[in-house]
């Protein structure tokens, strides 16, 4: 049942990604100063938008787990947070490549970058903690709590651009007065976001199935041990 959806997501994701590449190659303004490295902004912003969507979905799933106690939500939170961490890594890597050309350095201890790295560390800690608890219900409970904490920290990350002085360009997506992209550059970012989002959903689905399967295997193993 789920297989056709996965293939569809893969095709849509690839198609949208190719569309962005086509737009970059043909119509979008080239930034001459930064020698083409600027073009990865579309996937840089798209990846972070997908990562943050994932962290918020993870929060929702964690709250649902705490409310219902259904392990499906725990598997969903685990899958979605892991894939969000992957896209945060991609976004950081692309930003770093851009920074090499625009600022001349791979990394800068700008508040925006620092807080994003911290957010990355919090969710890496989330995954490490999942690995170090054996008992499924304890693991689910503690990771749900950690996901809520992590998400609040993501909120701090999101506002950090206003609180501290920063040399990072202003946030593209904001509740009020976002933007700062050149004319005609908004919609390729949306397409890139759509592409990474489809890929993210696909990967999260796979991880969720694996998590459910491993829980099933664990349960079966326990049943065998009782005999």
């Amino acid at each position: 049942m789920r297989e056709p959806i996965k293939y569809l997501l893969a095709v849509v994701s690839l198609g949208l990604a190719l569309w962005v590449v086509y737009l970059i190659a043909t119509t979008l303004p080239l930034e001459v100063v930064n020698v083409g490295a600027y073009q990865n902004i579309y996937f840089h912003v798209g990846s972070f938008a997908t990562a943050f969507s994932g962290f918020f979905l993870g929060l929702a799933a964690s709250l649902l787990y705490l409310k219902t106690g259904n392990f499906k939500y725990d598997s969903f939170a685990a899958g979605v947070n892991e894939i969000a961490l992957l896209f945060a890594t991609v976004g950081l890597a692309m930003g770093s490549i851009w920074g090499r050309y625009a600022w001349g350095i791979w990394w800068d201890w700008d508040p925006r970058l620092t807080s994003m790295l911290l957010c990355w560390l919090v969710y890496a800690g989330y995954l490490m903690m999942r690995g170090s608890v054996d008992e499924p219900s304890t693991r689910a409970r503690l990771s749900a709590v950690l996901s809520i904490f992590g998400c609040l920290l993501v909120g701090f990350v999101y506002k950090s651009i206003d609180w501290f002085r920063t040399q990072h360009p202003p946030a593209v997506f904001a509740f009020r007065g976002g933007g700062g992209m050149g004319p005609g550059m908004d919609y390729p970012i949306m397409i890139a976001w759509g592409s990474t989002l489809c890929l993210g959903i696909l990967l999260a689905m796979v991880r969720m199935e694996q998590a459910e399967m491993s829980r099933e295997i664990d349960a079966l193993r326990r049943e065998v041990h009782t005999y």
Binding site: V122, G125, M128, S137, T138, F149
Partner: protein, 226 residues
């Protein structure tokens, strides 16, 4: 009633600390060791290094290292003789247990920090007297943030394998907004700038304390009891 329960827990922790002095001795020795290590990392006598610009950050690094050492035992030490189960079975809410432990840790950390502030001032020739009470207020606000986070994550990691290793992984990233604000306030105070000038950082620090303490109180029941 609630406050008496809270104080009972805090007093119990402080009494047991007073009798053994385990955490205080270890944390103080550790703080002084770190102060010595910093003098090796950079040469404080070298005029190019401008040690007075580093001193606020250095002080808070010492505090946060000592805090992680002292706080990691908050709940772990209740595992012996199944004390944690007894505490959870006692007729007090989990939030009173958390806040009591937080208060005990807060007082303990403040005591450690005031002593290491003296050692710091003595070893690095830093004048702390100019705005002493404001400095103490800043240290108290920053310490509340460290104690609140540390106590909460100590409860969260108490049942984990490798809990001593996992705790720093969680608390340092989570503490950075509070540490940033504390360092910038302390840096100002050591250079004669009062808190009223730096009110943005004061607001960040106070709101961090309020937000994360409330969140911990809301979630502690799920963490400890389930």
């Amino acid at each position: 009633m609630y406050f008496r329960q809270l104080w009972t827990i805090a007093a119990k922790d402080l009494r047991s600390e007073w009798r053994t002095r385990e955490a205080v001795n270890a944390s103080l020795a550790f703080s002084i060791t770190i102060l010595v290590l910093f003098s090796i990392a950079f040469d404080p006598d070298n005029p190019d290094i401008k040690a007075d610009l580093l001193s606020a950050g250095l002080l808070w690094m010492v505090y946060s290292f000592a805090a992680a050492l002292a706080l990691s035992r908050t709940f772990a030490r209740e595992l012996q003789n199944d004390c944690l189960d007894a505490l959870l079975a006692a007729p007090i809410p989990a939030s009173a247990l958390y806040l009591g432990k937080l208060l005990g840790n807060f007082i303990l950390l403040l005591a450690i920090e005031v002593i290491s502030l003296g050692a710091f001032s003595f070893l690095y020739n830093v004048k702390v007297a100019a705005h002493f009470w404001q400095l103490l207020l800043t240290i108290a606000l920053g310490t509340w943030a460290m104690a609140a986070m540390g106590t909460f994550f100590s409860a969260l990691t108490v049942n984990l394998r490798l809990r001593e290793l996992m705790l720093p992984v969680f608390i340092y990233p989570a503490l950075v907004p509070a540490l940033l604000a504390s360092i910038s306030l302390t840096d100002g105070l050591l250079h004669g700038i009062p808190l009223s000038v730096n009110d943005g950082a004061v607001k960040i620090l106070v709101s961090f304390d309020i937000i994360f303490t409330s969140l911990a109180v809301l979630l502690i029941d799920i963490v400890l009891v389930g």
